[in-house]
């Protein structure tokens, strides 16, 4: 019981943030998980009450609270709509860290996070190994989403349909790059992000191409790794801190105007969580993190704000497709970026068709999809339905994790819809013009 008391003391540190919740219950109207289960412990108000209870030492052990706290997509729909401005995502991340530090990381997660994820080289080694052998366990499917699925019924993959690992990850194709500033007058560093590096290198290739077209100087340092969100979501602040330190050192080697990512989750993590959660004590490091996060931008934002799009002529518009757009939670709810990707789609000569509830979570939620695939799929299927109802050829979204989830849902339903990043559409448009 004494250690429950010490845990209570640690949770009490969150008290000033917890008391902001006035229990109005508005979060129930926007939580994608609550919509499925109607359980109070699944929505922010319930979880905040549980943390409050933990701080008051109301429970015999922390397991039940931890399980419920982890049943969350971290989509931030609640925070974006909270009348009292409760900083829900930050509280949950901190609470997960406190609980993990209290009871220790599971041996499996120890291995994955501390030995693999925290060191970009080891992480690359394992993912490349997995990439080489993926054909043994999975087979490619002939569908517009170009997904693969398990060859035999596999408890590891369920009936998922997932984009295959790239044959060559982006950092193999382009280990490093440093191009001079051109006609745009700006220099931009690219934080590649794991999923783009290992699953969708084509998006990073398109970044190079588009930047070249617009004369944007591009800096891609060698040795990049993960932004830290998977570790943080599992409460592993140590690995997170290590990763932040690593990238701060990596990016301070060159001067640039903006740090850009094409991954909504990486952008949101660097902008919001790096400054608020980092607890390292190195001299001057916090100021450096602040500085870097302030100049971090989503790729759509960068392009819309900084380049002149080529004028569309009627020929372009005829070639254009009907495209619908899904708002990634980490772009719209976390960063307020919603208009820019839409502008980019239109600038690519396509007709933008809005789907119902475009800003509703797709149900991916990182490891949520892993541990709660059934609920994740139920949420994802609503998204699939809304996409299919638009009768569009393509759904675009600014987050590779959403792309994976949406591909899975569309493939499962045999929908004839391609899944692309808005940047890919723009790069295609530039290619087709010349």
């Amino acid at each position: 019981m004494t250690d429950m008391k010490s845990l209570a003391r640690r949770v009490k540190e969150l008290e000033d943030q917890l008391v902001v919740c006035i229990r109005c219950g508005t979060c129930q109207s926007v939580c994608p998980l609550f919509e499925q289960t109607h359980r109070e412990a699944d929505v922010a108000r319930g979880k905040l009450a549980l943390l409050d209870g933990l701080g008051k030492n109301m429970f015999e052990n922390a397991k039940g609270v931890e399980e419920r706290l982890n049943r969350c997509l971290l989509c931030g729909s609640c925070a974006a709509n909270c009348p009292s401005g409760v900083n829900v995502v930050e509280i949950f991340i901190k609470a997960r860290a406190i609980l993990t530090e209290y009871k220790g990381l599971s041996p499996a997660k120890q291995l994955i996070f501390k030995k693999v994820l925290s060191d970009p080289k080891t992480f690359d080694f394992f993912t490349e190994l997995a990439g080489k052998f993926q054909g043994v366990f999975t087979k490619k499917e002939d569908n517009p989403q170009a997904t693969s699925c398990a060859r035999v019924i596999s408890p590891l993959l369920d009936n998922r349909h997932f984009p295959s690992m790239a044959e060559k990850s982006f950092h193999r194709l382009t280990p490093r790059l440093n191009t001079p500033v051109g006609k745009s007058g700006i220099k931009v560093a690219l934080f590649t992000g794991c999923i783009i590096d290992k699953v969708f290198p084509r998006i990073a290739n398109d970044v190079i191409e588009v930047f070249k077209h617009h004369g944007i100087g591009l800096y891609i340092p060698e040795g990049q790794g993960c932004c830290g969100i998977p570790a943080l979501a599992s409460g592993d602040r140590e690995t997170f801190t290590k990763l932040v330190d690593h990238h701060i050192r990596l990016f301070e080697r060159e001067k640039f105007d903006y740090l850009v990512t094409a991954c909504a989750t990486c952008t949101s993590t660097i902008k919001k969580l790096w400054p608020s959660i980092y607890e390292g004590t190195g001299s001057g490091i916090k100021a450096k993190i602040r500085e870097l996060s302030e100049k971090t931008l989503d790729i759509n934002q960068l392009l819309v704000n900084n380049v002149q799009f080529p004028p569309l002529d009627t020929r372009d518009e005829k070639k254009g497709e009907r495209v619908t757009y899904h708002d990634p939670c980490h772009l719209k709810k976390s960063l307020g970026v919603a208009a820019e990707p839409r502008s980019l789609i239109k600038a690519s000569g396509h007709e933008l068709v809005e789907m119902e509830d475009a800003d509703k979570c797709c149900g991916m939620g990182g490891s949520f999809n892993l541990y709660h695939y059934d609920i994740s799929s139920r949420i994802g299927n609503l998204k699939q339905q809304n996409i299919s109802d638009t009768h569009c050829d393509t759904v675009a979204t600014g987050c590779p994790a959403c792309m994976i989830q949406i591909s899975d849902m569309l493939a499962k339903n045999g929908a004839n819809v391609k899944v692309k990043h808005p940047l890919e559409l723009y790069a295609e448009f530039l290619r087709n013009r010349t």
């Binding site: 109301m58 429970f59 993912t127 699953v199 490891s367």
Partner: protein, 489 residues
């Protein structure tokens, strides 16, 4: 592939760490009850673990939580009826809960051996009848969901409580919820044509009808509206719908003093105009909204009135012009009429953000709703200013000036014991002043636990005794949300 890697992680975890059996908090066993409830709804719809119980121990009222014994989630009327029967057999207290947005503690469990019944899965709109203009709904349908569904058919369900995006119709009926449109369109009770419910023995009782007129039997529907789950458990509601107004016009009037604003309210009513909404924001609230939303509100204004007239286009035009004149005649510094939907939305966004803006100022927010006859609004506003000064606490006042239902909102921090004590005294004095002015303790939030101890002040002893006898007759075992409204029987 990453997914595969993560799956390996999950599998390893399961192998490495044998799953520890969860020890739920053990309390007085009521095994028979729990087993019977599981038989009715299945084990996925019955919760008993302590962690889950804690999440049903509160609602939106600032009151102490009570952790229930079990929580049950029926999926249809039959299951609901069986649950009531089982609870009746075991003499177990039941508290029905929609979204738990109650502001008077009506959905806080009655005791630690009580059962909470969730209506979340009873959320079907059973019928929208356009020819006869009514809707039949289950109690768990969210208010805004019905409003949107009928609007698509050109119909209108006017009651719009502040929590409509999340509140349920069952909760609205049980609390007789109001909203911004009370002045012209009335409140929930004015739209309930009929309902069916399970009595305390689990017998299914039907009342009211699908007709506009219905003169048979006792008006049990009327009795059930606002009964806060103390007389029966509602399973179906027939709601009246009306045609959607064809036009509307919104405006915002700025005043130097709150007195002038309240005089405008009286003058509009005296001119025989009934706006759909007539909302007031005091200076404290204006400043809070402005610092939160940067909407460009005049922070030095004593008060704002937000007014909307609706109806036939010709009448809206005429009423709108006359209201504008009255505002100016009674001292408005400026009157701005919304010229398009975007401007209209901005006006109402300011009103809707009032509570949020105030909530951000201090950790604890007590939303009161003592209501007075609308002609007494100036006197009530004056009283609130005096009370705020006397007890040295922050009170922001906004609300439905048109129907006398102001929301004095007290901002405090419950952890500050001395201040909290002053807040409790202030609330009691607000009640006293409202009653002196011929008003009521609650316009729309209900009695619940929060106002039960004060109800006698408003109604007198015999009304309490009569209510208790009525309740005893309908609920002999005292299992329907005991402790609410009439206090301990």
């Amino acid at each position: 592939m990453i997914i595969m890697l993560m799956r390996v992680l999950k599998a390893t975890k399961t192998l490495v760490l044998p799953i520890l059996k969860t020890h739920s908090h053990e309390r007085i066993p009521m095994k028979g009850l729990i087993d019977q409830l599981i038989k009715i709804v299945g084990k996925d719809n019955l919760l008993t673990q302590r962690e889950d119980m804690v999440t049903y121990s509160y609602d939106a009222a600032v009151l102490d939580p009570v952790v229930p014994h079990a929580v049950v989630m029926p999926e249809n009327s039959e299951q609901l009826g069986q649950i009531v029967k089982v609870c009746s057999t075991h003499r177990v207290a039941m508290t029905v809960r929609g979204s738990g947005t109650n502001l008077s503690g009506g959905t806080i469990p009655s005791n630690t051996s009580g059962v909470v019944v969730l209506t979340g899965k009873l959320n079907k709109i059973l019928e929208i009848n356009e020819a006869d203009m009514y809707a039949v709904v289950q109690p768990g349908v969210v208010t805004a969901t019905l409003a949107a569904a009928v609007e698509k058919k050109g119909l209108f369900y006017p009651p719009d409580p502040g929590s409509q995006a999340v509140s349920t119709l069952g909760g609205n009926v049980a609390e007789n919820a109001g909203g911004l449109r009370g002045l012209k369109y009335g409140v929930t009770k004015d739209y309930v044509m009929g309902l069916s419910f399970f009595d305390s023995m689990g017998e299914h009782v039907k009342s009211g009808s699908r007709t506009v007129k219905c003169a048979t039997g006792y008006n049990l529907t009327g009795l059930m509206v606002g009964s806060e789950g103390t007389l029966g458990v509602i399973d179906e509601i027939i709601l009246k719908l009306i045609p959607l107004p064809k036009a509307r016009k919104s405006m915002v009037a700025v005043y130097k003093t709150i007195k002038q604003a309240s005089e405008t309210v009286a003058a509009i009513i005296a001119d025989r105009i009934v706006p759909a909404t007539l909302e007031l924001l005091d200076n404290f609230t204006i400043r809070a909204v402005e610092s939160y939303s940067k909407a460009g509100l005049p922070v030095d204004a004593g008060a704002l009135l937000l007014i909307e007239v609706d109806g036939h286009p010709g009448q809206v035009e005429e009423d709108g012009r006359r209201v504008e004149e009255i505002c100016r005649e009674t001292g408005a510094q400026s009157v701005k009429v919304a010229t398009d939907d975007a401007e209209r939305d901005r006006i109402w966004a300011a009103r809707r953000s009032a509570l949020s803006a105030l909530a951000k100022l201090k950790p604890t927010l007590v939303l009161e709703d003592a209501t007075v006859p609308r002609s007494k609004i100036p006197a009530m506003v004056k009283s609130l200013q005096e009370i705020s000064k006397k007890y040295d606490i922050s009170i922001g006042t906004f609300g439905h000036a048109g129907d006398g239902n102001l929301h004095p909102t007290i901002l405090t921090d419950k952890r500050n014991k001395a201040e909290w004590h002053r807040v409790e005294q202030a609330i009691e004095e607000i009640f006293d002043r409202a009653l002196e002015l011929g008003g009521t303790l609650s316009g729309e939030h209900g009695t619940g636990l929060a106002k039960a101890p004060f109800l006698e002040k408003e109604t007198g002893r015999s009304a309490i005794l009569f209510s208790r006898r009525l309740r005893k007759a309908m609920d002999p075992y005292n299992i329907l949300n005991p402790g609410k409204i009439t206090g301990v029987i």
